[in-house]
Symmetry: C2
Subunit: 127 residues, 2 copies
């Protein structure tokens, strides 16, 4: 399948601006063009894009993602290094989940406290 930039944009919720920007920055290498120079994206590109947004969502910076993509370009001799990067990222995500859990508890705790204050306040005849 071939997709236009618009189709990709709609499927992925990444704006066409950003798709071009990612390409310019080296995150999406070898995007094919029609004879008139119009981009078209393959399923492989879509797949990479999926990984990119996943890495981005988990806090990896574009420049690190670029490094990862460049390793991918170099073929199987970089597989070990790519695994290491993914393992590192897996670890990061675990830490983020723990952090988020702590924050959740803090917000909940504060909310419980305010709720109590609120019911007390309302109980005094101040609606």
């Amino acid at each position: 399948m071939r997709y236009t930039i618009r189709e990709v944009s709609e499927k992925t919720n990444i704006s066409a601006y950003v798709l071009r920007f990612y390409e310019k920055e080296g995150l999406l290498p070898h995007i094919h063009r029609s004879e008139g120079g119009i981009r078209y994206y393959t399923d492989e590109d879509m797949d990479l894009l999926g990984l990119i947004s996943c890495l981005k969502k988990t806090g990896m910076q574009l420049r690190e993602i670029k490094t990862f993509v460049e390793l991918s370009e170099q073929g199987p001799e970089t597989l070990r290094e790519r695994c290491n990067i993914l393992r590192q990222q897996q670890d990061n995500v675990r830490k983020q989940m723990a952090e988020l859990q702590k924050s959740y508890e803090k917000v909940s705790h504060k909310l419980a406290y305010f709720s109590r204050l609120l019911s007390e306040y309302e109980g005094t005849g101040n609606p």
Copy 2:
């Protein structure tokens, strides 16, 4: 207890620059000063700072945090609204945790795939 900006910075891992910046932006109102104009922070300030970083960590923007702080300034008649904001944020955090979980699975899946490729590659006599 009274803390200098340096002590607060060390305790919270928020730089003195940022503490002053937050104050300027209205996130930390009523910071006391010594006669010479030097800031000192109270335990109450520390508490607010804890809530601020928690809200920030969970993706709330400074301008929204400022709104929350301003409501706090207005006394108990804004308690209900503050509870609503916290409940909303609690919800946001739940969504973030679900998202993060999905990303974790995606990274793990990709890693498993690459690991398999790697062991195959190494099995062929390419160390």
